[in-house]
Amino acid sequence: MPERLIIDSEIVANQWQLITEPGDNIDDNSAIIVPLSMWTEQRESLLKRPRLGLWLDCDQSPQLIAEDLSHFELVAIQFPNFADGRGFSYGRELRDTHHYQGEVRAIGSFIRDQLFFLKRCGFNAFALETADLEKSLASLADFSDSYQAAMDQPAPLYNRR
């Protein structure tokens, strides 16, 4: 996870440690993002931790964990490469279908030019790996309106004109 990221259109320091393997070293009090498999195996001990996030890999739909979403302060969705658009649907499913209210964080190989669409799909945190964050903020506002209904605009333009 990069040291700084964009959350709610501001550049902030990252507070979370991403655990991708169950054997990774974990501080007792740190905020951790754990993979689905680790949650399934260590549910009880993980529930005792102060701050918990969930890591969904690119082929893991939020549907797999719909019942447990309330235990997580954030859900991080992995983009294995920027052309793999499954995460866009996962974002919408989290917000629309499962009414998830916590942070939805994009991590992995997405790019600055996808920020506007990611935001519309319910993501509010963007752990861009290589981009200049200050400049990237502009891409969140590439368009001032949209044709379709999505997270930022509940009504499609055809019902608003």
Binding site: F88, F117, F143, Q148, A150, P154, R161
Partner: protein, 551 residues
Amino acid sequence: MYIYDEYDQRLIDERVAQYRGQTERYLAGEISDEQFLPLRLQNGLYIQRLAPMLRVAIPYGTFNAKQMRMFATLSRDYDKGYAHISTRQNIQFNWPKLEDVPDILEQLATVQLHAIQTSGNCIRNTTTDQFAGAAADEIEDPRPYCELIREWSTFHPEFAFLPRKFKIAVCASNADRAAINLHDIGVDIVHNSLGETGFRILVGGGLGRTPVIGTQIIDFLPKQHLITYLEAILRVYNQHGRRDNKYKARIKILVRAMGIDAFRDKVEQEWAVLKDGPSTISEQAFEKAKSFFRSPAYQIIDDSEAEAALKQQADDDKLFSTWLSRNVSAHKQPGYSCVTLSLKRTGYAPGDLSDQQMEAIADMAEQFSFGELRASHQQNIILPHVPKSALLALWRQAKTEGFATANIGYLTDIICCPGGDFCALANAKSLPIADAIQRKFDDADYLYDLGDIDLNISGCMNACSHHHIGHIGILGVDKKGQEFYQVSLGGSQDRDASLAKILGPSFASEQVPDVIQTILDTYVDQRTDEETFLDTYRRVGLAPFKEKVYA
């Protein structure tokens, strides 16, 4: 036709600014080639064999004289003075410079045109009947529904990075001129017993490497649910379509792998969340969409009088009469016709237009057809609303400009991709084959005797010219660095869609015209009085053709 309001104009202007910024960052080395690829593709820009190619959208094939003039200007200012009508009702420029594209897009935006999503793994330009809004056999004008789909699919945040490209076609007539069986989604506009509008939806059709005829997923979708249902299909595809192999990534492979019933269950599950939600189309939205496609200010004409006068003119001139029978089709308004300008004149690449020809067509549209134009997937241009009394004058003018070849639906009305001469994907050239066939079969009486024959030539498996659904299909293949051509027979794009069967081993380019001759001779030999080529093929099968060709 659809006219932008301030929303549309603002969005399209913002898109130009966005792409200008992306191009600048790319040229400054801030974006890698790999990252720039989908960004430029979603703005229609390919890098081809010799130069970039820019594909500009003509939404559902409808445009006007002013826009045609802009194409002419752009082809002169940024290209080599010509453009190409594609097989998906779009227009392509073959020689623009990458750094000029933002300026080209800015100019296009001034006449409400763009290149958004004309390529890339996203929802592409929606296509429909080239006679939409004019055809005598349509139950409704499909364009208001196409426009709603255009709006929904443009910059859709969730579906810009699909497993593969996604094409939607809409049809509202008895004859299917939009090939809805052969698209990722086919939307068939239907009326139920109460006279209400709804949609029969087909899914998983497509050509390319693995041609498949679409399967019905729902027989009657009430009209207000169109967008939520499409969204549910796309959401299932986006999550479950294969991403490990681009040749197996189209929705047709997913539908086949899951089976239509399991696929439908998944769609219904997603739809349950979306149905009756905010994207349900309001009655007001339908009315608003329809308001853009009202009929032009037709004159009241007595059709029988107009027909009698036309018959008189036709009797006096056999060439005019032949043209009437091929290039003019029935209009729903008494006294009017739809006219197809043939871009299939021998000696010219199918679908190509010079800047002067584009301007000549714009003039004709203004003079004869309320300024309206259509592009067809057969790569011709249509003047949709021509009074019958003006047909003779129009024909004379079209003849002068070279658009009056009376071959619509005939063997020489060839659908042909740019092929190996331009396209980086092609295995073989296609244009010289089209040219050789047009030259060999240039006799109007012979073509008339043969009747309707769709001949489609693709330069590779990607099947841009839909060779699988030509009555005769020709596919360019590469055999150890040599160009060969595989011939197939019996395809059809109509309601009774069928996929062509391969005749046998492929041929060298110089053999192709003679092979076509043998196929035609076999048809003439086998046919009964009333049979078209396709009828005869369906009755006798592949064997007699095979026997003669490989004798």
